[in-house]
């Protein structure tokens, strides 16, 4: 299977501290991959590197055949969109304005409107609240808005950073269903970065477990969910 996003032997330092010791994994085209691990495992470092915000000491990141330059904006041009951790939105802009900001790089107005309709299709609640200030939404709605904004860029690779963080379990289940639906309908490649291993692995075709800057396990989502190590370390059973 072709891989859409491929991380090869990534080594990243924060000053004298090595955060990633040669991380490699592939996200197959059109599938959901989950990158799980506890606090400080290096999940965010991997994501920041993919977004071009960190300059790796070694290794490279490919989107399709292209090697990304470690510059913010370059991955976006190659179709990588991030829904950032902590649901960062333009709080004083309306929901719809936030979504339209996500489509800033899409020049075709018809394609933009079409995408907006689809985002509203996935998240009807955003449509209800389209004129409301994004900062006044509930946590779950803000997360929907952040995912919707990333979708508006019509990416080939969608990066989701901790979408379940600080959100009620019932909304987490709803989000998981929608993420699956989006990936299926649009055959978009999704990299889901999560501490909530249960949720992430249950919808992921591929799972990658990160521990102190190393990949310790890979497999299908189902395999990892069943593996005794994962169950002991992340699921508390």
């Amino acid at each position: 299977m072709r891989s859409d996003l491929s991380v090869r032997n990534l080594v990243v330092n924060y000053g004298p501290v090595r955060a990633l010791h040669g991380v490699s994994f592939d996200v197959p085209e059109g599938q959901i991959a989950a990158l799980v691990g506890s606090n400080g495992a290096g999940k965010s470092t991997v994501l920041k590197s993919i977004c071009g915000l960190l300059k790796p000491v070694e290794g490279e990141i490919r989107v399709g055949e292209e090697v990304m330059k470690p510059r913010p904006g370059d991955p976006l041009r190659h179709g990588v969109a991030l829904s950032p951790e902590g649901r960062r939105l333009f709080g004083r802009l309306s929901v719809e304005e936030n979504l339209m900001m996500g489509a800033y790089t899409v020049k075709d107005a018809a394609a933009r409107d079409d995408m907006l309709d689809r985002v509203y299709g996935y998240f009807p609640r955003l449509k209800e609240r389209r004129r409301q200030m994004a900062g006044s939404l509930s946590g779950g709605e803000q997360q929907m808005c952040a995912i919707g904004r990333a979708l508006m860029a019509q990416p080939r690779v969608l990066l989701l950073d901790e979408p379940s963080l600080g959100i009620a379990p019932i909304i987490v289940a709803e989000l998981a269903k929608i993420i699956e639906e989006i990936s299926r309908d649009t055959s978009m490649t999704v990299l889901l970065v999560e501490q909530n291993a249960q949720m992430a692995l249950s919808i992921a075709a591929t799972g990658v477990v990160l521990e102190t800057g190393n990949v310790v396990l890979t497999g299908t989502g189902r395999e990892l969910l069943a593996s005794p190590e994962v169950r002991a370390a992340y699921l508390g059973t």
Binding site: C51, P72, G73, L76, R77, L82, P84, R88, L89, F90, G91, R92, L93, S94, E97, M100, M101, G102, Y104, T105, E128, R129, R131, Q132, M133, S136, R149, A153
Partner: protein, 322 residues
């Protein structure tokens, strides 16, 4: 949908109607009283409101320029020199002033706007002083410290606006143009870009918005408006000197903007409407203008963080609670 009422912004909210009615009434005062003094103050309000409107555009991308008076000065000197030395009609001198001020802002904007927050404020403060000192140093153009007097009045198609009553409608017309431009920017794609850059630069950058270019556009438009207002001031008052466009004028514009409401569309208009007449009507208090401005600024920052333009909303919220 009950929560959405406060943030939605349809074209005509009742509040907007009240604002417009209030501003139109205020604009009519000189015609009711017929007082020349009132006409003069009303014209000064229009000029200040235009300049403050320009400053607002720059504030929309999150920057505060203390060089705003210098750009008004660039516009003023451009127009005055074109009119007095090259016999250009005043009606062309005014936009030429805006154009030159905008061009200067565009050129120096790119390196300057890499700085944000207090550093940008400091560098623009230094620029305003630099402008004043340079102008004092080239008396053959600026008239030096004695300035340029006897500047031709504004004339429209051969008709000179020689008295206050005839300048005022034209000042209102120019102010309406500037406010119209502000509304257009604010409601359009550019306004959303400005707001995104103002609120979260990093997030805007990562959404693919060219943040540096966006800030330069705002700085250029805002400074061009300042240039226009400066040129208008020069032809209305009939005298300019480098000291006219000193640092204190920049500070006055900042205080008007903050008092009116830094991010409110009508903030510049409300701020100028409130603060321009204030020292004039407190008889004999003109020399204490900056003291009065300082006190007003402190009061506004303490009690009205959204400025006067945010007062009705603040009142209605209090009422709702009580």
């Amino acid at each position: 949908m009950s929560m959405s009422a406060t943030s939605s912004a349809p074209a005509f909210q009742p509040m907007t109607v009240v604002w417009i009615a209030g501003i139109v009434l205020a604009a009519l005062i000189p015609w009711f009283t017929g007082s020349v003094f009132h006409f003069h103050i009303a014209i000064m309000v229009c000029i200040s409101a235009m300049a403050t409107g320009g400053l607002a555009v720059i504030a929309w991308v999150g920057q505060l320029s203390l060089a705003h008076a210098a750009f008004a000065g660039i516009g003023a000197y451009t127009s005055v020199l074109l009119v007095t030395r090259l016999d250009v009609p005043v009606l062309l001198g005014l936009p030429a002033g805006a154009l030159v001020a905008g061009a200067v802002a565009f050129i120096i904007g790119a390196p300057l706007l890499r700085l944000r927050g207090v550093y940008f404020v400091l560098i623009t403060f230094a620029l305003n002083e630099l402008f004043r000192l340079i102008m004092l140093d080239i008396p053959e153009f600026s008239g030096g410290s004695s300035g340029i007097a006897g500047i031709p009045k504004i004339s429209l198609f051969g008709v000179t606006l020689s008295n206050y009553q005839s300048v005022y409608p034209f000042a209102l017309f120019c102010l309406a143009l500037v406010m119209g431009l502000l509304v257009l920017i604010r409601r359009g794609q550019l306004g959303r870009r400005f707001a995104a850059v103002e609120e979260n630069l990093a997030l805007a950058e990562s959404s693919g918005i060219p943040t540096a270019k966006t800030q330069t556009i705002a700085f250029t438009i805002g400074s061009a408006i300042a240039g226009f207002s400066g040129a208008f001031l020069a032809h209305y008052v009939g005298f300019i000197s480098p000291e006219t466009f000193g640092f204190q004028l920049s500070v006055s514009y900042v205080i008007m903007l903050v008092t009116g409401g830094r991010l409110a569309l009508w903030g510049p208009l409300v701020g100028a409407l409130f603060l321009t007449p204030l020292p004039e009507f407190l008889r004999g208090a003109v020399e204490y203008q900056h003291v009065i401005y300082g006190v007003v600024l402190i009061a506004v920052l303490r009690f009205l963080p959204r400025g006067l333009a945010g007062l009705p909303r603040q009142l209605s919220r209090k009422g709702g609670r009580g």
